[in-house]
């Protein structure tokens, strides 16, 4: 057999190996040890090296883009030596980075304004002519005239409280005033009138109220710039983790008020944080757009949501009246208008209509599947000709709640897991440079996918204690725990909290139910619309959580359909993105109203097809292995 010379840079080590040797083994011969979190199966992409000259086989891998391959990048665990080679081994940091640069973990699309900037809130600085015996029009008339003549604004509306202060305000700085007006309605509602010229920009707030997390964007309405973003766990979580338990809570004495206050409190904390960070006063925020699911919208407005939960699942409203911050107790300008993005139905809310607006699905010929995965999974299938939507209850596991070691995606959360198929030892990636404290939704998907692929768990989601013991007789990672068998991701000694970070079979069951609900929701949609899934041209993943999903692993556990990876696109928090567009453009606001009317809602519980699909999906990746050919192929290895 032919002998080949392989040189490695940096360092210049040269080894002679026989043709067909794995690059990994050649490197080891040269004293270079490459990390193999997946055990050398070409699954994690972390052992990449660059072939500067010479020939290798096994160049292709899903972890390498066309561009990577053209530049000579290969995975040393799959590429084999054919002739003499010159190899460059990148520094470890760089190789580690590859794990976050998986094709599936592409950065989410940047939040952008799709519409001509035309905010409903406007401010006019007026220098009015002081009254005289010749010009003795009343103060209000003078203000109206000024607005008409200097700012071309008609139809001023104000209330008696504002009128009581009008005379003094106008005179305070010698008839120089700044008027802030809300034009979202038919006229121009006076939000704020102050003497003199106001220095700071006009501010608005776009808020996504999720069942688990609340996100707020502070926006400069004068130029459309996104000034800052803040997020917190929804304080309502203390009253129940999902929508249903929230509704149950709301039916208690004073429950609706409690929940309404908690939602508002959460937002007020975010407002304070954002205002402080940008040297603004909360009162400078003169407009707000809120997108949230139907229940969140009801609770935010203090509308009892109980009928959402009771057959036939009817909300009080899908379109909500515009109210003021003062009505709701929000700590922004008391007269700021608060617009809630309309819902489609009880379980397809304003977060989804805002998401569809952000995704521009409605204006494309391309058949797209829009997914918003969170505590609930919502699905929209369509293009410019039609849109169908359904929703399923997924539970809070993907948002880090309801699991023993679950946590939100914040520093200390495990977000990626790789398990070596040889040693069954995990390699974890933690958000921030801190010891692991728990596992977030994306880490959970990742962990379960790896456990499945490496045989730690069966397709039924049960931990195979004997198998783990056979591979790890010394210190097995799988053991019988308090609530059944569990797998230790991080030993107490290496964990931030001082206790083992584990995944129990109960946690696994929990995740399997979540993914089954979402996948079943997708399948029922495909079935009801008569559109086979493989004809879908794009899968748009929205929602606050979506951008963290690793598509490869989400397919491995059967959460996402087994479609080519390049069909998946991450849009980020589409709910907040949609709200941001609506805040900045009246056109976007009228469009979203139009979208709601154009979406057909499919009720999943109207027949038993969802239950059938759900039970079939309670398996990894699915009872019907033919639907996941790429995973079946991987598991057969």
């Amino acid at each position: 057999m032919k002998t080949c010379r392989v040189s490695f840079q940096p360092g210049g080590a040269v080894v002679s190996v026989s043709e067909g040797t794995l690059l990994l083994d050649a490197a080891a011969r040269a004293g270079i040890l490459l990390d193999m979190p997946c055990g050398g199966q070409g699954r994690c992409g972390r052992c990449r090296v660059k072939v500067e000259s010479g020939e290798v086989t096994g160049r292709e891998n899903i972890h390498l883009s066309q561009e990577d391959m053209a530049q000579g990048w290969v995975l040393s665990c799959t590429a084999r030596v054919v002739g003499d080679l010159a190899i460059t081994v990148p520094p470890k940091v760089e190789r580690d980075r590859a794990i976050v640069e998986l094709p599936s973990a592409r950065a989410a699309a940047q939040i952008a304004l799709h519409w001509p900037r035309y905010p409903a809130l406007r401010r006019a600085y007026l220098e009015l002519t002081p009254p005289s015996l010749e010009d003795n029009a009343p103060d209000l008339e003078r203000l109206r005239r000024g607005l008409r003549q200097e700012a071309n604004l008609e139809g001023l509306e104000l209330d008696v409280y504002q009128m009581r202060e009008l005379g003094a305000t106008l005179r305070q700085d010698n008839w120089r005033v700044s008027a802030t007006l809300d034009a979202s309605g038919p006229g121009n509602r006076l939000v704020d009138l102050r003497p003199g010229r106001i220095k700071g920009p006009l501010l608005g707030l776009a808020v996504d109220i999720g069942t688990t997390n609340v996100v707020a964007y502070l926006v400069n309405l004068d130029n459309g710039r996104l000034l800052g973003k803040a997020s917190r766990m929804n304080r309502q979580v203390s009253c129940g983790e999902d929508v249903i338990s929230r509704i149950v809570f709301s039916q208690r004495e004073g429950g609706v008020d409690t929940l309404q206050n908690l939602a508002v409190d959460t937002i007020n904390v975010l407002v304070k944080e954002l205002a402080q960070a940008h040297g603004a006063s909360p009162e400078d925020i003169g407009d707000m757009v809120m997108a949230g699911n139907t229940t969140m919208a009801h609770l935010f407005l203090g509308i009892p949501p109980r009928y959402i939960r009771e057959e036939p699942y009817v909300p009080t409203a899908t379109h909500f009246p515009v109210c003021t911050a003062r009505d709701l107790g929000l700590a922004i300008h008391p007269r700021a208008s608060v617009y809630c993005v309309p819902s489609v139905a009880a379980y397809v809310g304003g977060d989804i209509t805002a998401g569809v607006l952000a995704s521009k699905l409605y204006e494309s010929d391309t058949l797209s599947l829009f997914l918003d995965v969170g505590t609930n999974g919502e699905i929209v299938l369509g293009n410019k000709d039609f849109m169908m939507t359904d929703a399923c209850s997924a539970g809070p596991a993907l948002e880090g709640a309801g699991m023993r070691c679950g946590m939100r995606a914040m520093p200390g959360a495990i977000e990626d897991v790789r398990i070596s198929s040889l040693t069954l030892e995990p390699t974890i990636k933690v958000i921030g440079d801190v010891p692991a404290q728990g596992i977030c939704g994306s880490g959970l998907i990742s962990a379960v996918a790896e456990m499945l692929v490496t045989g730690v768990i069966s397709k039924g989601g049960k931990i195979d204690l004997d198998y783990v013991l056979s591979r790890q007789p010394e210190r097995p990672r799988a053991r019988p725990g308090e609530s059944g068998p569990e797998y230790v991701l991080v030993w107490a000694g290496e964990a931030g909290g001082g206790t083992d970070i584990t995944l129990s079979e109960v946690d696994l069951e929990n995740l399997v139910r979540v993914k089954a609900a979402i996948y079943a929701g997708i399948m029922v949609m495909a079935e009801k619309s008569g559109i086979p899934l493989d004809t879908v041209e794009r899968v748009l993943i929205g929602g606050a959580f979506g951008q963290h999903i690793n598509v490869e692993q989400a397919i491995q556990i059967g959460l996402l359909p087994d479609l080519p990876w390049d069909k998946f696109h991450f849009l980020g928090n589409t709910s907040a993105w949609g709200a941001y567009n609506i805040l900045l453009s009246k056109h976007a606001r009228s469009k979203v109203e139009e979208l709601v009317a154009g979406m057909t809602y499919v009720e999943l519980i109207a027949d038993n097809s969802f239950m059938n699909e759900f039970t079939a999906s309670l398996f990894l990746p699915h009872t019907d292995a033919d639907r996941f050919p790429s995973v079946a192929h991987l598991l057969s290895r």
């Binding site: 397709k459 195979d464 398996f619 009872t623 019907d624 292995a625």
Partner: protein, 320 residues
């Protein structure tokens, strides 16, 4: 009259054949159909559905008087019971090791092995042997039985999604088959089959028990599940193609309608007739939705069901 060609359904799939029974002894093969039950014009039905007599390893405590008297003294010993069942024409013995239940004697694995040996001496019919449906005890007694009956190709049970590794591994080691029970859902049955095969069990060593509902107690659900499993198998899904075992006897006889003698409306009629009708109606209905192994209790029901199978297999009409 123009000649009309009757349309024939061409199925891609075929039911998996499963052979039970040891060398030099009576063997039974079930499955192998390439058509729906008894539709001889559509495909092949190489093996007739079979009848297994339900035998306990202890005298039954709560069985109706008329089924107890039908078996008589034979109930006192599983060997005698099995022998009588063979004489009455059973194709298989379904032996339930009830005495191993922690609350019904908690008998040991050694005792189970002894019982099975005695039954095998008394009859050369193939055996299905199941434990008391308590995971730990099932594992204990079935491991012992599998060892004692090595090479006899028993069907061992009951395998569930919570408890399958031990029994499946034991069955593989001893050359046996297993009975896999899932709670009346096509997908759950298929999932359990996949799990068993993932452990390494050959597809020809698996019998499905998709859970039976008796007449008035979910029979139509069972019928639908059996039928959908069978349709999926014929459409080419190998993981739903295992033969189906049906507990018509057990499920019928535990219902009030089969047992109640007093305090029921006169229109219900004589319990002795009613109970038999209950078992037979359940069995005959589910036979036609795909069951290959019909487990029955009463000798008379065994006769009736066998008679219907005879006629349907001989392409004759229903029993007049």
């Amino acid at each position: 009259m123009p000649k009309v060609e009757a349309p024939v359904e061409k199925w891609r799939g075929r039911v998996q054949e499963v052979r039970l029974g040891g060398d030099g002894r009576k063997q039974v093969t079930v499955g192998g159909e390439s058509t729906l039950p008894f539709l001889h014009f559509d495909g092949e039905i190489p093996h007739r559905p079979v009848i297994a007599a339900e035998v306990l390893d202890m005298p039954p405590a709560d069985w109706a008087e008329n089924v107890v008297s039908a078996w008589g003294d034979a109930l006192k010993s599983p060997a005698a019971w099995a022998k009588k069942a063979a004489q009455l024409g059973a194709d298989l013995i379904f032996l339930r090791l009830a005495s191993a239940h922690p609350e019904q004697g908690n008998t040991s694995g050694a005792q189970a092995a002894k019982t099975v040996s005695q039954v095998m001496e008394a009859t050369d019919l193939p055996l299905i042997v199941v434990g008391p449906d308590v995971a730990e005890k099932d594992n204990e007694v079935i491991v012992a039985v599998a060892e004692a009956a090595r090479g006899q190709r028993l069907a061992l049970g009951t395998v569930t999604d919570k408890n399958y590794r031990t029994i499946v591994a034991t069955a593989m080691a001893g050359g046996h088959a297993v009975v896999a029970q899932a709670p009346m859902d096509m997908n759950l049955s298929k999932q359990l089959n996949i799990l068993c095969c993932d452990v390494g069990l050959p597809k020809d060593s698996l019998v499905m028990d998709p859970t039976t509902g008796a007449l008035g107690y979910g029979m139509e659900y069972a019928l639908s599940v059996f039928e959908r499993l069978r349709l999926a198998a014929l459409q080419g899904d190998a993981m739903t193609a295992m033969p189906i075992l049906c507990h018509a006897g057990y499920e019928s006889w535990r219902q009030k309608e089969a047992k109640a003698v007093e305090g029921v409306p006169v229109s219900w009629g004589d319990q002795k007739v009613r109970s038999l009708l209950w078992e037979q109606m359940t069995a005959l209905t589910l036979l036609q939705s795909g069951a290959e192994i019909m487990v029955l209790r009463h000798p008379r029901s065994m006769d009736v069901v066998r008679g219907v199978i005879d006629r349907l297999m001989a392409r004759q009409g229903p029993v007049s």
